[in-house]
């Protein structure tokens, strides 16, 4: 039976009572990034499920509306964007849930490190394993919806940019609802209205590319939205996590 060896602990005895934290926020952020990446890679289905969901939703539209390529080509930019947005939303609920359940979230909040930076690290992993794969997969589904040539790169780029904002905004909702037992539906209700500007400019970029208009304005606005989200969302996420841990 393994048991505590207090003798060992005392003999070891070289641990001081207190040591000033040396590693700064950078070390903690890097460790959190690594930990979350490892965790998600070990539960690969959580990474794959949103992608499968994305493909499934896209399959529903030709079946539900019409397989006519011309019609599909018209609605493709919006469909791809809406489906990707929903897929990203689907994965949000688990962003802080498991940390909350096993008590790591408390520890995250009590670390002598800036919480917004740690929260940002978790959101970055979420985007890396949800938003980015969705963006890379979108052109493939674009082919199935007869998306006109010349807009594929813009589709992937706009989704990559936009989904980063979606992850940041969505994380606020996830942080607000993580303490609630049935937070999933509420999370969508809170977050979807806030997604609308990103959807407008994201889908607008793809449409502009199809029409041959310049897409730089759209992408610039998407970038601006991301900048705003990056500068404000981490603080809102941190505040929300502190509220949720209160119960």
């Amino acid at each position: 039976m393994p048991h505590f060896d207090s003798r060992l602990a005392q003999e070891q005895g070289d641990m001081p009572l207190f040591r000033e934290p040396e590693g700064g926020a950078g070390v903690a952020v890097r460790a959190t990034l690594k930990r979350d990446l490892v965790l998600l890679m070990r539960r690969r289905s959580e990474v794959l499920n949103p992608l499968v969901f994305f493909a499934l939703v896209i399959t529903l539209f030709p079946i539900g509306i019409s397989p006519d390529p011309e019609l599909l080509a018209i609605i493709a930019p919006g469909l791809l964007w809406v489906a990707a947005l929903l897929a990203a939303l689907l994965s949000l609920d688990s962003l802080f849930r498991s940390d909350f359940d096993d008590g790591s979230l408390e520890q995250l909040l009590l670390a002598p490190q800036p919480l917004p930076a740690l929260a940002l690290a978790k959101v970055a992993v979420h985007w890396l394993l949800t938003g980015l794969p969705l963006a890379l997969m979108a052109p493939l589904l674009g082919i199935m919806l007869s998306l006109p040539a010349g807009s594929y790169a813009v589709l992937a780029l706009s989704l990559a940019l936009g989904s980063a904002s979606l992850s940041l905004i969505g994380a606020i909702g996830a942080a607000l609802t993580v303490g609630l037992s049935r937070g999933g539906v509420l999370l969508s209700l809170l977050v979807l209205p806030l997604y609308i500007p990103v959807l407008i400019f994201g889908a607008g970029a793809v449409q502009a590319a199809i029409l041959g208009d310049g897409v730089s304005a759209h992408l610039a606005i998407l970038g601006a939205l991301l900048a705003v989200a990056l500068s404000l969302a981490p603080w809102a996420i941190a505040a929300s996590l502190r509220i949720s841990i209160n119960g």
């Binding site: 509420l186 209700l189 806030l194 500007p197 505040a239 929300s240 119960g247």
Partner: protein, 246 residues
């Protein structure tokens, strides 16, 4: 200044002062809304393009104004609550939200009804109506989030954060929806953006807007007083008050 704010934050003091303010706002609201209604419905001239259906503007615009202002007030109250821990601010925010949702609904309904004679359809994805619809969802979100927590303090703080996040987003949503609308419907006639209205038309509108604001203030004072009774029911002064009122 600080002493004043903290005094205002004391429920007992607020309860007393609001009792004195409240009747004035009710009277002002009633007079302004009655005068504005009579003027707008019967005396203002009909619009040369839209005829008498234009008179819907006198409820649509005040409701839309109020819907947006209430959300901003809610966020400001949330900020005050979060920073200075003044509970009155949160009580007021909690009481405002349903009225804000109701006003958003009025704006949507009157806009939709107005659409029938103007566009020949009950619903148009008009920029103003679309923004209002999104605002309604934002209100639902805040109300639902507040209701979802079992701890009152957490509910208050969560609703405050969401209101602040929402208020940052409202202008972004508004501009992006306007931009989206002009892109898709370049030359459609918009009901409310019109060149200079004559005085007989905008004066009743102004009166109605003021009346609606007074109504909002009066109702919020009244419901905040109720909320004080609810939340502070174990305090001695509330108990004594209950004895007196009977």
């Amino acid at each position: 200044m600080w002493a004043f704010i903290h005094k205002l934050g004391s429920p007992k003091w607020f309860y007393a002062i609001s009792a004195r303010l409240q009747p004035w706002f009710w009277v002002a609201a009633a007079v302004l809304i009655l005068v504005g209604s009579a003027w707008g419905l019967a005396f203002a001239p009909a619009d040369y393009q839209q005829g008498n259906s234009f008179r819907i503007i006198y409820v649509h615009v005040p409701a839309a104004f109020l819907a947006q202002s209430i959300f901003v007030s809610m966020a400001v109250a949330g900020f005050i609550f979060m920073v200075w821990k003044i509970k009155i601010a949160d009580m007021a925010a909690a009481m405002m939200a349903p009225l804000g949702a109701a006003m958003t609904f009025v704006a949507l309904f009157s806009g939709a009804v107005w659409g029938v004679p103007t566009w020949g359809t009950w619903w148009m994805w008009d920029a103003r109506l679309t923004s209002m619809l999104i605002l309604l969802f934002l209100y639902f979100g805040v109300i639902a989030l507040r209701g979802a927590f079992s701890s009152r303090d957490s509910a208050s703080r969560a609703a405050s954060v969401l209101a602040m996040v929402g208020v940052i987003n409202i202008p972004i949503i508004k501009y992006s929806v306007d931009w989206w609308y002009t892109l898709h419907q370049p030359a459609t006639f918009s009901v409310t953006s019109r060149p200079a209205m004559p005085m007989e038309m905008w004066a009743p509108l102004l009166i109605m807007v003021l009346g609606f604001y007074c109504f909002f203030i009066a109702l919020t004072l009244m419901r905040t007083r109720s909320e004080i009774l609810r939340r502070e029911s174990s305090k001695r002064w509330v108990r004594e008050l209950a004895g007196e009122v009977s």
